[in-house]
């Protein structure tokens, strides 16, 4: 059992750059981890979820190896749970209640409040993306050196909003202003052109779609440039040009799929089919409507599948493009992801999810059989409702049965298709000042949630 001590070649200079090898060591025992998490989640009415998720992350982080040594995840279940409670109490609940209260108001006010709420939620989504990333990085170490994300999440949220809202706004209202200016201040011409006609809406869609590659580079740049390992920053210099060349093909493919979907839906949406949707007094009409709904669902599913296939090679290209323009010290990353690989990964993940879903469905049916037949609980009684609630929870929890495996497959695919070229002066990288950690103790860190 003795192993000879490998003598390290004498280091010429302790801080001279060395190559760093990135690899993936697929973790074993993820299915039994999923089963244990499911059992404990059920027995603790879901609270264990946060600790289960933490154990999954500890395994997945450990599977990513640099020079054969694992990344370490230092986050805790307690942090995830506290973060969830804070966001649930201070964000989700107030927003939901405000939205519900707004429905009671008369219409112009009601709609305005709900639009404002949606915009705010969109902004918060951006903030959450950044904060989740910051949380994960600050809980990631390699050889004891911490990673961090040093920027401002509110500013990121704002960029997240305006890079989409501005092009949309210009496309929606631009024609009106243009008409107003060209006609020397004719308000009627402005009103005519500014209305959300089909033309301007299509224009808005086109504009919004063509902004996406630029936007993704902009957002990725913010995330990467704020990122540090110890005291050293990452840099990012991806040009948009190559992305746009690939995007053209993706966009054309999506346009064909969208056009086919519109044609299919409009073709099926005959007056007879639609009548049944609003009239529940006639069984024949309702059967027509049901047929329409089934057809529409099928068409939507098929369109999504095709879209996924078309988008996969673009997303793989984007991953590789981002990787090769991300630098750290003297090294760069190199991505080798392919559309085919992403599709294969997603397909496997879907099948795993489906298996969990079917198991959950069986559990739900068994549970309801127990409630209805064995215990004879009337469905409208409080006991029956509580039983149904627990059954839905059973289904929901079972759907996550293979989640550890799914997460590991996805991370593994990306890690196996990412390499580091060049050399990094590892011994010269130090922990750096702890500004990120000290600030972290305040309320701001409480919002660094990653529980969703």
């Amino acid at each position: 059992m003795m192993r000879p001590v490998v003598t390290e070649p004498p280091a010429a200079d302790a801080s001279s750059p060395v190559p760093v090898r990135l690899s993936w060591l697929h973790p074993a025992g993820l299915v039994s981890l999923g089963l244990a998490n499911l059992a404990l989640r059920i027995l603790t009415l879901n609270v264990y979820h946060f600790w289960g998720e933490t154990e999954v992350r500890r395994r997945i982080w450990s599977a990513v190896r640099l020079e054969g040594e694992p990344l370490v995840y230092t986050g805790t279940g307690r942090e995830l749970f506290a973060g969830f409670l804070v966001v649930f109490g201070l964000v989700l609940l107030p927003l939901t209640l405000t939205g519900a209260a707004a429905m009671a108001l008369p219409d112009p006010g009601s709609s305005l409040i709900r639009i404002a709420l949606s915009a705010f939620v969109f902004y918060l989504t951006g903030v959450a993306v950044y904060r989740a990333r910051r949380y994960r990085l600050s809980r990631t170490r390699w050889r004891g050196i911490r990673m961090s994300l040093g920027g401002n999440s509110w500013r990121f949220g704002w960029t997240y909003v305006w890079t989409l809202a501005l092009p949309f706004g210009v496309a929606l209202f631009g024609p009106g202003f243009l008409a107003y200016a060209l006609t020397g201040g004719d308000r009627d011409a402005m009103a005519e052109a500014a209305g959300p006609t089909i033309g301007t809406t299509v224009l808005a869609m086109l504009a919004a779609f063509w902004i996406l590659p630029w936007r993704s580079i902009k957002l990725q740049g913010l995330l990467v440039r704020d990122m540090r390992f110890g005291d050293r920053p990452f840099t990012f210099d991806a040009p948009a040009g190559p992305l746009y060349r690939r995007y053209a093909a993706f966009w054309a493919g999506s346009a064909v799929i969208a056009a086919w979907l519109c044609a299919a839906l409009l073709g099926a949406a005959t007056p007879e089919a639609l009548a049944g949707l609003t009239d529940e007094t006639d069984t024949e009409k309702m059967a027509n409507a049901l047929r329409f709904v089934v057809l529409a669902t099928f068409a939507l599913g098929l369109a999504y599948l095709l879209y996924y296939l078309v988008s996969a090679s673009y997303r793989a290209f984007q991953f590789n493009h981002f990787a090769s323009h991300t630098h750290f010290e003297g090294a760069s990353f190199r991505g080798t992801a392919t559309g085919r690989g992403l599709v294969r990964n997603a397909l496997g993940n879907f099948l795993l999810w489906l298996a969990g879903f079917l198991i959950g469905l069986l559990a739900l049916l068994g549970w309801m059989f127990l409630a209805g037949t064995v215990l004879a609980l009337p469905p409208e009684s409080a006991g029956g409702q509580a039983f149904l609630l627990l059954g839905l929870f059973l289904l929901f929890a079972s759907m996550a049965l293979f989640r550890p495996l799914i997460q590991a497959r996805t991370t593994g695919y990306l890690a196996r298709n990412l390499a580091i070229d060049g050399k990094v002066p590892l011994a010269g990288i130090s922990q750096g000042d702890d500004h990120n950690l000290r600030r972290g103790e305040g309320l701001a860190q409480a919002f660094d949630v990653d529980a969703f």
Binding site: M1, R3, P4, V5, V6, T7, L25, P27, A28, G29, L40, T44, L45, N46, V47, Y48, H49, W51, E55, R58, W61, S62, E69, P70, V72, G77, V87, F88, L92, A100, A104, R141, R143, G144, I145, F229, L277, T278, D279, E280, T281, D282, T283, P378, E380, A382, G383, Q385, A386, L389, F393, F396, L426, A427, G428, I429, S430, Q431, A451, F452
Partner: protein, 386 residues
């Protein structure tokens, strides 16, 4: 210090001091009191087993172990051998998967036990927290919520308010409300809707449909249905159902990590809910009390349901779903009917006189062509009660 050299093999490890991202080769041994790290040209370190932290819990699948210790803050030690991990698990059992899961889950398992015990107690003692909260709601809040539900239920169907019909309905409402006592003020709205139904909303608000009024053969029959709905209102059943629906959605939302979205749809949820059999019995009892006090015969109440039920049994399916709706969500049980029919006779006068009844019958305007022509603009929400 290292007396048990023979007992424990040497392992090869990589040691990082935590000050830089560099690492050095070390020899590692599982000593008597801790992990011993032997660095070249430095004193050996001993990391006591008790305080050790492992990057991932030690499982039987482990192929390596990455450790840190409060004895050397910031430092970490990586040993890439499964045997080391398994030997370490024997020495430091708190690092194993099983121990860590138990440590994290234990407080919550106990909390769950307490919750389940509390729920069983609530159920066994027949307490109703939802009902208690419903009783505490201020009147203004109940009315505001009720109005919103009434609006949502009737969709964009017009309200029926033809002058003489409205006056007759008001007279009937007042007569019943006075008998109900407690100065409760009921708001009764008629919706121009083929569907035959009636339901109570929070804040003593009641919605009757045109279909129901057309189906009733006498004012006494309508009075029975109205008194039953008033019974629900007096017992605060709609408020209780609402509070329960919100509570259940919040619980579901919490259990599903804020991703179920049911809280936002609590309104939708309550529209689906029916009252329990107990609630129906309570509303019936309340209705019989009101009718007796008002001097209106309870016979109409019973005959109405008898007739609707019989007609439904006789007719083929699919002809008219609208009257089926009433019984689909709320089967009128034989037991309920018998209780009502067994009510002893008392001195009574008709709920309304012939003229008033005729006016009420046409509260939605003159008789109109049979349904199907009038198409509601929205899918009708499922009715929840009679």
């Amino acid at each position: 210090m290292h007396s048990d050299t023979a007992a424990s093999p040497l392992f090869y490890g990589r040691f990082s001091d935590g000050r830089t991202a560099g690492a050095t080769d070390v020899d590692v041994r599982l000593g008597a009191s801790g992990v011993e790290v032997m660095r070249k040209g430095a004193l050996p370190l001993v990391w006591p087993y008790a305080g050790l932290v492992a990057a991932e819990p030690l499982s039987s699948y482990a192929v390596d172990a990455l450790l840190s210790s409060p004895a050397s803050p910031g430092a970490s030690l990586f040993v890439g051998e499964g045997l080391f991990a398994r030997k370490l698990a024997e020495k430091a059992p708190h690092l194993t998967t099983r121990a860590q899961r138990w440590q994290h889950a234990k407080p919550w398992l106990l909390a769950t036990l307490a919750t389940v015990a509390a729920a069983i107690a609530v159920w066994a003692l027949d307490l109703s927290p939802a009902r208690t909260i419903a009783g505490l709601l201020p009147d203004r809040a109940r009315s505001a919520v009720g109005e919103q539900i009434m609006t949502e239920m009737s969709g964009d169907r017009p309200q029926c308010d033809a002058g003489p019909g409205r006056a007759a309905l008001d007279r009937l409402t007042t007569r019943l409300a006075e008998a109900a006592g407690d100065n409760t003020r009921f708001k009764v709205v008629v919706s121009d809707w083929d569907l035959m139904n009636a339901f109570a909303a929070p804040g003593e608000q009641i919605l009757l449909t045109r279909g129901l009024i057309e189906k009733a053969q006498s004012a006494d029959e309508l009075a029975g249905v109205l008194a039953h709905e008033m019974g629900h209102g007096i017992e605060r059943h709609p408020e209780t159902a609402l509070v329960r629906a919100i509570g259940l959605s919040a619980a579901l939302e919490l259990m599903m990590g804020g991703s179920s979205g049911t809280l936002a749809n609590a309104g939708l949820f309550i529209a689906q809910l029916a009252y329990s059999r107990d609630a129906e019995r309570a509303a019936d009892a309340e209705a019989l009390r009101i009718l007796a006090k008002a001097g209106i015969s309870a016979k109409g109440f019973a005959s109405f349901f008898r007739r609707v039920q019989k007609e439904e049994e006789g007719s083929g399916l699919g002809k008219s779903l609208s009257s089926l709706e009433v019984l689909r969500t709320h089967p009128v049980t034989e037991e309920r009917l018998r209780v009502v029919e067994r009510t002893p006779d008392y001195k009574s006068t008709p709920a309304l006189d012939e003229k008033e009844w005729a006016a009420l019958k046409s509260i939605c305007g003159a008789a109109r062509p049979k349904p199907d022509k009038v198409r509601p603009a929205k899918p009708a929400p499922p009715p929840r009660d009679i």
